[in-house]
Symmetry: C2
Subunit: 218 residues, 2 copies
């Protein structure tokens, strides 16, 4: 039995950037998990049941053969190891490292500063104004994307002509950048990559509005 | 010629938590790079020369055979691929994913919220008081360590009885938690792991105060 036919369940929320990454990776691999929806704004991630699956109380969680995994990049590397085709990392160690560098530049340096729990802290504990919250997001997203723009190669995607872990992280981040109303014209390579990505159903089908739990309004 | 004998240069700063991780990994692998020091408080990371090596303007950067790599986790995975002994990830995919999950729980959810550039933004752009800055750090470090405490196994280290990528991230984070004056008694497993780690020279030799660029005062 191949990995694709085994029992996968994805705990997800349509608007989560980390869940968006994992949805793209699952689509690229042709893995169709069952889905369970965890409504972040209703704080369903803090329930005792969910916390038993994911002590970080974050989405996504992938359950495979009864074992739960959190952290989107760990999940995607796992998928790439158990279902190697198509590969989401190059074959040579330096190429793999370059792709991981770009993925981590997004996953470590941009996204954690702008996710829901941080935005709630800025609003509720620090009492920042809407404008200050917006500036915060634009500052970190802009700084991070600038670095990725410089690191991206000249190919169709971030590294070469096929999507990798780097693109799987980039596309949800660009989606969030638009929600934060960041002007994106300073990142022409990234916009070109985004266009190439959305030519693929794997990326289009993973977009928040195309999820079963999507709601029209926040 | 083995990977260990080739040309490695590490761009580092003694107090950087990400550089601390890479120093531990290099020590565990027995790789002794040349070192170049990048003084973060003097903003040497923003120089044109350094930026050409690392568009994120962050430490560490590892240059291997003339090619520069940033992002500590990408560097460590690279080292683990080119110098596989001793391994920093388990052999089976699920174990590897669990170790990466713990490493990313630290590298994505704790450290990016508390590093120098964020602390500078809190102080300079948001004009937070010292007390508010301290609360910010304690909040995110505490939340993150609680999740790692729940994820860590019952062995000597985070996963089993040998150090992995998870411990390489945990030990510098505990070091930072102490600098932020977080009370650590709520994390008995992590404290036990820390004790086991510091029995190894690879961890002790990587501590900030033992670096050539260490200064006694900030």
């Amino acid at each position: 039995m191949s990995a694709r036919q085994r029992d996968f369940t994805l705990y997800t929320y349509f608007r989560s950037s980390a869940a968006f990454r994992v949805r793209i990776a699952l689509n690229l691999k042709g893995v169709k998990p069952r889905q369970e929806f965890v409504h972040l704004l209703r704080h369903e991630q803090a329930s005792a049941n969910y916390r038993a699956l994911n002590p970080q109380q974050a989405v996504p969680t992938l359950v495979h053969d009864g074992r739960a995994l959190g952290q989107s990049l760990a999940i995607i590397e796992y998928l790439d190891e158990i279902a190697p085709q198509p590969p989401l990392l190059p074959a040579d160690p330096f190429g793999r490292a370059r792709v991981r560098q770009m993925a981590l530049a997004i996953a470590c340096e941009i996204h954690p500063l702008c996710n829901l729990r941080v935005r709630e802290y800025l609003r509720d504990a620090l009492k920042l104004s809407e404008a200050e919250q917006g500036e915060w997001q634009k500052h970190w997203i802009g700084l991070g994307l600038q670095a990725v723009e410089e690191m991206a190669g000249a190919g169709r995607f971030c590294f070469g002509d096929k999507p990798t872990l780097a693109d799987v992280c980039l596309i949800p981040q660009l989606f969030n950048a638009r929600r934060a109303e960041l002007e994106l014209s300073a990142y022409p390579r990234l916009l070109r990559i985004e266009q190439a990505a959305y030519e693929l159903a794997a990326f289009r089908d993973a977009v928040p509005k195309n999820q079963p739990d999507a709601t029209p309004h926040p």
